[in-house]
């Protein structure tokens, strides 16, 4: 096993492989800046170039790009509230408020350091868990996956919306929208009304661009101030505003980084869980253990460290089921299997047995591309952060144009742009009436997972699916998210009433004593 690990890294000693890795990373970072071109699209774009390539070169090219693309998306999520992919919406929660305070460079520094670490951590997880993977995966059945998806949607909606009811509505709306289109379970086309453009449902990029990027541009243009508001441009060079401060923030909170990296890697190991759940759970976890949970959503660095560390660790984790069983751990990994087949490898137990050096080469490539992309990102952050001080008249039209074209690219249909514009208007109203656009997005992202697993659970287990021990525990946890704040408030009010009552009785007793005296 150790030999294979070293053989894997030795394969990277070839200068041509390193050149392909660099080219892949540059492509990845550039594509990461363009909304709609996430890891999936990046892999799809680069696959035609892989024909006839040496396996090591081909892998270096696509994994260099794949590892770097998520960091590009994080930068745009932080600086312009334009997440590169739907799941990166979590990074906007605290990243964007930091940018609004003039701390965009620092936030990018936090993201870069956390991403680099997350990538490395994910790879360590690959090294450790490949032998244990089979046992872990078999624990998660459809009822458990359904319950986890539900927990993710509920928790994000409740955290982000103004009231619990609005949080539930936001998540449910996202789910309802995700049900539009072809249902792979039954083969029925739902809510399309004969429109073939909606056969594949609404595009996630179109919805995300509408709800976040375009809405934000409407907001800053209507206000007439730059993204960073009235803060001075020179702030990005002062202490507390620099990229270096962001990196130091992460070093100081290394425990949180490790814990969230673990959450991300664990989510990656479970097929079909996706990055959305990993990022959300780590955000919730970071908030729950923070000494200042109230500042989450207002620019707390821990709100970036958690999701970013988890998101990149997830990629390493998702390699485990992909390579050991041929089950893609994420949508990106589904395409990566195709790329491996092009290069002559068939993921599965045979690959682990016969090409263990290639398995570890893949893990090393993901780690290295994450690390180098983060260094490049740190170098570019001050320059990128200056964009947030531009007038809204200058920044809004190009970003809206890019967002709408990104919406088109995903669906390859003009209706993608129309969907983005419709959701921009809907999102503007929902955002300002207390609903959670993030909850809606997560509901939409996790909708197919929830639909498929709830359907299979009901078929296979009936209603007793919800009584399975792990499922029940997760569902109780989800219910407690709604009830816990109310119970806490009720206890606090009761304690206050009791204290007031006791004070009253003590005062009464004192007055009695006084009278007696």
């Amino acid at each position: 096993m150790l030999d294979a690990m070293f053989d894997g890294i030795l394969l990277l000693g070839d200068p041509t492989a390193l050149l392909y890795l660099t080219v892949g990373m540059v492509v990845g970072i550039i594509l990461g800046f363009l909304p709609g071109l996430g890891g999936l699209a990046t892999l799809a774009l680069l696959m035609p170039f892989m024909f006839g390539m040496e396996p090591v070169h081909g892998l270096a090219l696509i994994l260099g790009a794949y590892g770097a693309v998520s960091f590009g998306g994080s930068v745009t999520a932080i600086l312009t509230k334009t997440p590169g992919t739907g799941e990166q919406v979590v990074t906007t929660f605290d990243g964007y408020p930091m940018t609004q305070q003039g701390k965009g460079a620092r936030a990018v520094g936090v993201s870069a350091a956390a991403s680099a670490f997350g990538g490395l951590f994910g790879v360590i997880i690959v090294f450790i868990t490949i032998p244990l993977a089979r046992q872990i995966i078999t624990l998660m059945r459809p009822p458990e996956l359904f319950a986890l998806a539900l927990l993710g949607i509920m928790a994000l909606g409740l955290l982000d919306a103004r009231t619990p009811a609005k949080g539930i509505i936001s998540g449910a709306l996202g789910l309802m929208l995700s049900f539009v289109g072809f249902d792979p379970v039954t083969g029925v086309s739902r809510m399309t009304f004969g429109n073939l453009s909606l056969y594949d449902g609404f595009g996630i990029t179109a919805i995300t661009m509408g709800l976040f990027a375009v809405v934000e541009m409407f907001h800053i243009y209507a206000k007439g101030v730059s993204i960073a508001g009235d803060t001075r441009v020179s702030l990005s060079k002062e202490k507390g505003y620099r990229v270096l401060d962001g990196v130091l923030d992460v070093v100081k909170r290394w425990k949180l980084m490790v814990q969230c990296g673990f959450i991300g890697a664990a989510a990656g190991v479970i097929p079909g869980m996706g990055g959305g759940i990993a990022m959300f759970f780590s955000y919730g976890y970071a908030r729950s253990r923070s000494s200042d949970p109230e500042s989450f959503g207002k620019g707390n660095v821990e709100g970036i460290i958690g999701p970013e560390s988890a998101n990149n660790a997830k990629e390493g984790g998702s390699l485990v089921p992909t390579l050991t069983f041929g089950i893609p751990g994420s949508s990106g990994m589904a395409l990566f299997i195709g790329a491996l087949l092009l290069l002559g490898f068939t993921p599965g137990p045979d690959m682990v047995r016969d090409n263990l050096d290639i398995v570890f080469l893949i893990a090393w490539l993901i780690a290295i591309s994450n690390l180098i992309a983060s260094f490049i990102g740190v170098g570019m952050a001050p320059m990128l952060a200056r964009a947030t001080f531009l007038k809204p008249e200058v920044i809004a039209p190009p970003l809206i144009a890019i967002a709408l074209i990104g919406s088109f690219i995903e669906m390859r249909l003009l209706i993608g742009m129309t969907i983005a514009v419709v959701f921009a208007f809907v999102g503007y109203v929902l955002r300002n009436t207390g609903y959670s656009n993030a909850g809606l997005t997560l509901g939409f992202v996790l909708g197919p997972l929830l639909d498929r697993n709830l359907n299979i659970s009901l078929q296979a287990y009936g209603w007793s699916a919800f009584l399975r021990p792990i499922t029940l525990t997760i569902l109780v946890l989800a219910a407690s998210l709604i009830l816990a704040p109310r119970i806490k408030r009720w206890i606090a009010r009761r304690a206050e009433r009791l204290a007031t009552g006791q004070e009253g009785s003590i005062e009464d007793a004192n007055s009695v004593v006084t009278l007696d005296d």
């Binding site: 309802m176 243009y221 690219i409 639909d451 359907n455």
Partner: protein, 185 residues
Amino acid sequence: MTDRRVELIVGGVLLVAGLAYIGVMSTYPYRARIVPIIVTVVMLGAVVWDLVSTAMTGRKRQGGGEDGQPQDGKNVSGGTAVDDREFVDVFRGESGRRLAFIAGWTVLFLLAVRAFGFAPAAGIWTLVFFLLNRVRLVTAVITSAVIGLGTYALLELLLNIPATDGFLFDAVASVSEAAATVRSQ
């Protein structure tokens, strides 16, 4: 119009939309409709709960009770906290005019794409926005050229999607083709 009334209207729209959604979903086979219907019923329950609590909050406020502020000072969608009057105020005065302008520009951008194709629309429409907002001419021309050329490179060269196909250019091409045919005859 107050924010509370807007919230009640949005709640009402969601209620009607949810009922319509259930109505359409119920026409599909059992396995295709069961999950969407469960989700919609949960949403409708939450909408009713929200409508009742919003209405009650307003009544309490009128009676000098609670102020109806967001619970625990929560943010909305990770953005700025919306105070009780801010949203309706956005539509008034200068901010309302600016919001209407950018919304109109965005909708017309869709039409521009159909008319000119992606790359010319991205360039021309961005330039129009800049000029109407009195952005410096050099900045406006350079930025819109970069956007237009970037769109062309991305779509036409990288993704093999026609970036200059629009009905206006198609019409011009058809007219010139017809003219050439007439001339040759």
